[in-house]
């Protein structure tokens, strides 16, 4: 039997290559996701381990993985005290500043602005790896405010050389400054910094620039004496530390940071794997089709084997063995392709600032195992049904003229599909009414059920679509159109399975299109309703900027109000929260914050305002006292009022003082600028533009520009999703090619006959093309229809979270269907050419 299997594998090359390709793409996606996230993990592990001292001393909460700039510091006296500890070989104070960007000779932020810009005082501290955190690689150490050292990658990327004058943007006053590059340092284990840039001053200089000249440190690194453990030294340190400052063992810090990074990478991996799963599901349709047809074509041979004494199990196994081989080969190639995909992802993420080019890409055993298991399992599962059908071929059928593995009962399919759709719709409706995250889960599960149900029922559900197309074809293309329609109806299940593959892709694409469009519309509406200021200053890098910028704009003639909005993450009443902070007096003059309960002015010391929807979801009542936790500590605040949903960009609002009391350094996220009534808007804009012109990370936008920028960001996100879904669509296209090629082989004799009675080559090609378009359009119409339902439900469910405008991009959806038709035409090119090449007489003679 093995020999038969192998012989068959070789004989059906093309077919198997196509379904193998589906596995290759799916597995490549899986392997690529793992390899890429492992690469990121290796990079961050290197950074974490290479930068953590044996014992780390910091103000509580200030040195966590997600900490932002903190106002709290450690005095130099503490460092001296720590250096005298019996277990300490060394104690070095370090000053770290966030938001220091290196501006390249081209005037642009080095590294693209997506990754953090960090500044350090140069420190000889050793990391837990035993190596120094920073090593001078070239030149000499900087001295004084006007000299800096940079890390090797930043130097490479920017093109600066030692001796050059470097432009910097800092959170200090003034924000822009220059310094001469005196040296180049390598960092940690010498590997990638994930795109971050490092700027080094000497200790007095950084203290003068960013710490008002005080001899204080943001953290202290201790090195253990030989024979002293990290924990012992930590405990010694804790005994002498002032309150509010804590010591942690380096290994524990590294483990904690790795865990936090792992969580984020886990999300990223899951996100990518979701698309891998989609691609694989679509691939299953292709494989089921392929094996069904292979089995059907071979049924006579299988019957002959049965007649010669092969058992059902042997027949079944011979088919599954074939699947196993396809799965194995597909997974192997997929693994290789996954490596290439990971390289591509690396490049893509490099573009948005996450540069991990220095790291080698690890292929863990886990990646290999998962790739093979997934690839082979998916192939076997998909081949199981056809294999079972094959084993049911009766030996007597070997003697028959034409063996047909009839498309057995639609009955059970109808029932299962119908029930799934009914349940799915119920879940969607429940989710629609319910809203919130529970509603979203309901809609998600409902959508899945409907999707599977419609796939099962698509031979029936698709009928009206095919009928409409059929009528259209008939009137446009006459008999050729009629033949094409009839052909697509011949194996309704095969057509439907092929179309379903495309349907899945288009359902998701349309859902995302509606989601994206609604997000854009909701954002635009929110901005238009809320923002009354004509000008908005924000950061291109998504990281906050120096308050000096607000101060300098405030001093310009014609400017009336500059309201700064700061953003911090923390916990309110135990729930993770994004918290905005502003001077409400100024905010009221630039934003129209619609209040549900209470007044905006209530946001003062020890109070908090909450978005009405969030308050409801988290059961916060006005007047209630809740703990507000920021990185510098917890304070108790009173819920002083609620504002209408979507009237603020974040769900909580506190005063600037409250934020600062939380230990956070004052850094602005947005500035809303209004002008004096008599001032000319263009003049004011030009004045502000002049002030921010030499700040490459800062952008000044009118309201419309701000809205457009938001839309652009949403579009970029959408394009990324479309890009990831594209692979599933590619598989679906392969499926169409496959189905067409097969139906041509099956109908060789009929094609010969048609040619014999006068079907021209062009007409034959058109016939194949039209059949292909039927399949593609069927998939697209079903997909878009479901996308409209799912997308609308999803937007409805998220209405409380600010998605209160449902906007359906009709034109775009029509474009999807038209594009699907074009895809159909393209998918038909090769099969049609093959059909047209058939020799009339040989075709007729074919059995």
């Amino acid at each position: 039997m093995l020999k038969v299997t192998l012989r068959n594998l070789l004989a059906r090359k093309v077919r198997l290559v196509l379904s193998g390709l589906a596995i290759v793409i799916g597995v490549a996606f899986v392997a690529g996701s793992f390899i890429f996230t492992d690469t990121l993990r290796a990079t961050f592990d290197g950074i974490v381990k290479g930068t953590t001292a044996d014992v780390q001393v910091c103000p509580k909460g200030a040195c966590s993985f997600d900490s932002v700039a903190d106002t709290r510091t450690i005095p130099a006296s503490v460092v001296r005290q720590l250096g005298r500890l019996p277990g300490a070989a060394a104690a070095h104070g370090n000053d770290q500043v966030q938001g220091v960007y290196v501006i390249g000779p081209d005037g642009k932020v080095v590294g693209g602005g997506g990754a953090p810009g960090l500044a350090f005082s140069f420190t000889p501290t050793k990391a837990i790896t035993g190596n120094r955190i920073l090593t001078l690689a070239a030149g000499r150490l900087p001295h004084g405010v006007h000299q800096i050292a940079l890390d090797q990658q930043t130097v490479d990327k920017s093109g600066y050389r030692i001796g050059d004058t470097v432009h910097l943007q800092t959170p200090g006053t003034p924000p822009m400054m220059t310094a001469r590059l005196t040296g180049i340092v390598t960092f940690g284990e010498g590997n990638s910094l994930a795109g971050a840039t490092l700027t080094m001053w000497d200790r007095p200089a950084i203290q003068q620039l960013f710490f008002h000249g005080r001899d204080v440190f943001t953290e202290v690194g201790l090195t253990t004496k030989p024979g002293v453990s990290q924990v012992e030294l930590r405990d010694q340190a804790r005994r002498v530390l002032p309150t509010g400052v804590t010591a942690r063992a380096g290994d524990a810090v590294a483990a904690q940071n790795q865990k936090e990074i792992g969580k984020i990478l886990g999300f990223l991996n899951t996100f990518l794997l979701v698309f891998a799963a989609i691609a694989l599901v679509v691939g299953i349709f292709l494989i089921i089709n392929t094996f069904s047809i292979l089995v059907a074509q071979r049924s006579r041979e299988l019957a002959l084997l049965r007649a010669m004494g092969a058992s059902r199990r042997q027949v079944n196994r011979s088919v599954l063995l074939e699947a196993l081989a396809v799965g194995f080969i597909g997974s192997t190639i997929g693994l290789g392709a996954g490596y290439l995909l990971a390289i591509a992802l690396k490049g893509l993420f490099g573009l948005i600032g996450l540069d991990v080019s220095g790291t080698t890409m690890p292929v863990h055993v886990r990646t290999v195992v998962v790739s093979y298991v997934v690839g082979i399992l998916v192939t076997l599962v998909a081949a199981y049904l056809p294999a079972r059908r094959a084993s049911r071929v009766a030996p007597v059928e070997a003697m028959r003229d034409d063996v047909t593995l009839g498309e057995s009962g639609m009955g059970r399919r109808l029932v299962v599909g119908g029930v799934l759709i009914a349940l799915g719709i119920a879940a969607i409706v429940a989710g629609w009414i319910g809203s919130g995250s529970g509603g979203l889960t309901g809609i998600g599960l409902g959508a899945l059920a409907v999707l599977v149900g419609v796939s099962l029922l698509s031979p029936v559900v698709g009928r009206p679509v095919v009928a409409v197309l059929g009528a259209l074809y008939r009137s446009l293309y006459g008999t050729v159109g009629q033949l094409a329609t009839a052909n697509s109806l011949r194996n309704p299940r095969r057509t439907a399975a092929t179309a379903s593959a495309l349907m899945i892709g288009l359902t998701l694409v349309s859902t995302m299109a509606i989601f994206g469009q609604s997000t854009k519309a909701s954002t635009e509406q929110a901005i238009r309703q809320t923002v009354t200021a004509p000008l908005i200053v924000s950061s291109k890098t998504q990281s906050p900027f120096s308050p000096a910028i607000a101060a300098s704009i405030r001093s310009l003639p014609g400017v009336k109000t500059v309201a700064e909005l700061r953003i911090a993450s923390g916990k309110v009443d135990g729930n993770d929260a994004t918290i905005g902070a502003a001077d409400v007096g100024q905010l009221a003059r630039t934003l129209n914050v619609r209040m549900a309960v209470g007044a905006l002015s209530a946001a003062a010391t020890h109070t908090i305002l909450v978005d009405a929807g969030t308050a409801k979801a988290n059961h916060l009542r006005v007047g209630e006292r809740v703990p507000l936790r920021l990185q510098g500590g917890t304070q108790t605040v009173v819920v002083a009022g609620t504002f209408a949903t979507n009237s603020m960009p974040m769900p909580y609002l506190v005063s600037l003082q409250t934020l600062q009391a939380g230990g956070l350094k004052p850094m602005d996220a947005y500035l809303f600028v209004s002008k004096a009534p008599k001032a000319d808007i263009d003049t004011v804009t030009a004045e502000i533009q002049k002030t921010v012109a030499d700040l490459p990370t800062i952008s000044l936008q009118t309201q419309q520009q701000f809205i457009d920028a938001q839309s652009k960001q949403i579009d970029q996100f959408l394009y990324m999703i479309y890009g990831l879904l594209a692979l599933a669509i590619v598989i679906a296209i392969l499926g169409i090619v496959n189905t067409l090629a097969l139906s041509i082989i099956e109908r060789t004799r009929e094609i010969g006959l048609l040619r014999a009675v006068g079907l021209s080559r062009a007409q034959l090609r058109r016939m194949v093309r039209l059949e292909s378009v039927v399949i593609a359009v069927l998939g697209a119409v079903l997909g878009v229809a479901m996308g409209i339902v799912f997308g609308s439900a999803m937007v409805r469910a998220l209405a409380d979270q600010g998605l209160n405008v449902l906007s359906i991009p009709w034109i775009q959806l029509v474009v999807f269907v038209v594009a699907a038709a074009v895809i159909g035409v393209l998918a038909a090119v090769l099969p049609a050419r093959r059909a047209a090449k058939l020799d009339v007489l040989q075709a007729i003679a074919t059995e």
Binding site: L483, E750, L753, L754, A756
Partner: protein
């Protein structure tokens, strides 16, 4: 012996000065290369007079199908010329050949003549509808009535008997009023009653409508429906008979078989012949 030879000589001439519907001149068709080369047609020159019913007979492998295919523009001969009316086929490209298949010839195969997704009527109209034309309603009615398919028009091939299917195929071949209808063993798969239906129908179209029909058959009884029988052997025309009767044809076949030394193939043909004749 001599009377047959005389008949052969006389009838090589175009009969009664009728118009020639189709003609082959020194037609050769070889398959394979080098040692394995097979000459399916080895220099056939033949004319088919308009408005007559001709049978082509010969042992299996003698080149009958090849001749039909070459003459019906389904295959290209290796050398020689085929004329349909005045048109010579060898210089034509695929487009022109397709048009000829639609308009100038009708072809009936032994089996698998119909497109399963189309009804009988749609199958009959297929060559015309592919050309984007409507059939002449009177002629359509005539064809349908002669073939007796009136109450079967909306049936699909799977709902028709073998004889009915072949009649649909004949109706299709006739509807475009082609210069010649070629039929390759049209009754080969049919029982004698269904076979007779098809044959008398073909005979009728020749008599009442002046249609030219060329038919390959193994069956002396079928051959007896025709006006003239042409015998092929090893890719050559070796003999012919006019106004044949089943007995004459059978006798002639025996003679040819004997001349060929009683090859297995010829014996096979004989057996088929006598079975069908019985």
């Amino acid at each position: 012996m001599s009377n047959i030879s005389a008949a052969v000589t006389a009838d090589r001439l175009p009969a009664e000065g009728r118009r020639v519907a189709a003609r082959a001149a020194d037609l050769r068709k070889t398959y394979g290369r080098g040692d394995t080369v097979v000459a399916a047609l080895d220099g056939v020159s033949i004319e088919f007079a308009a408005g007559r019913f001709t049978a082509v007979m010969g042992a299996s492998g003698s080149g009958k199908s090849t001749l039909m295919h070459c003459m019906a523009a389904l295959d290209k001969p290796t050398s020689g010329e085929v004329y349909l009316g005045d048109v010579e086929l060898s210089t034509l490209g695929d487009k022109e050949l397709t048009r000829i298949r639609r308009d100038k010839v009708g072809f009936v195969f032994q089996a698998f003549n119909l497109v399963p997704t189309l009804t009988a009527q749609e199958n009959i109209e297929l060559p015309l509808s592919l050309a984007g034309r409507k059939p002449d309603p009177d002629w359509f009615d005539t064809v349908v009535d002669v073939t007796g398919l009136r109450d079967r028009l909306s049936h699909r091939p799977s709902e028709l008997s073998g004889g009915q299917q072949q009649r649909v195929a004949c109706a299709r071949a006739l509807l475009s009023q082609p210069d010649v209808v070629f039929a390759d063993e049209p009754t080969g798969n049919l029982d004698s009653t269904s076979g007779a239906e098809v044959l008398s129908f073909l005979r009728d179209t020749v008599d009442s409508h002046g249609q030219t029909v060329v038919m390959v058959t193994h069956d002396p009884v079928a051959a007896a429906y025709t006006d003239r029988v042409v015998f092929l052997a090893d890719g050559l025309v070796v003999d012919e008979l006019h106004q044949p009767s089943a007995e004459l044809v059978l006798e002639q076949l025996k003679r040819l078989t004997a001349a060929a030394g009683g090859s297995a193939a010829a014996t096979g043909t004989m057996a088929t012949g006598s079975e069908a004749g019985a």
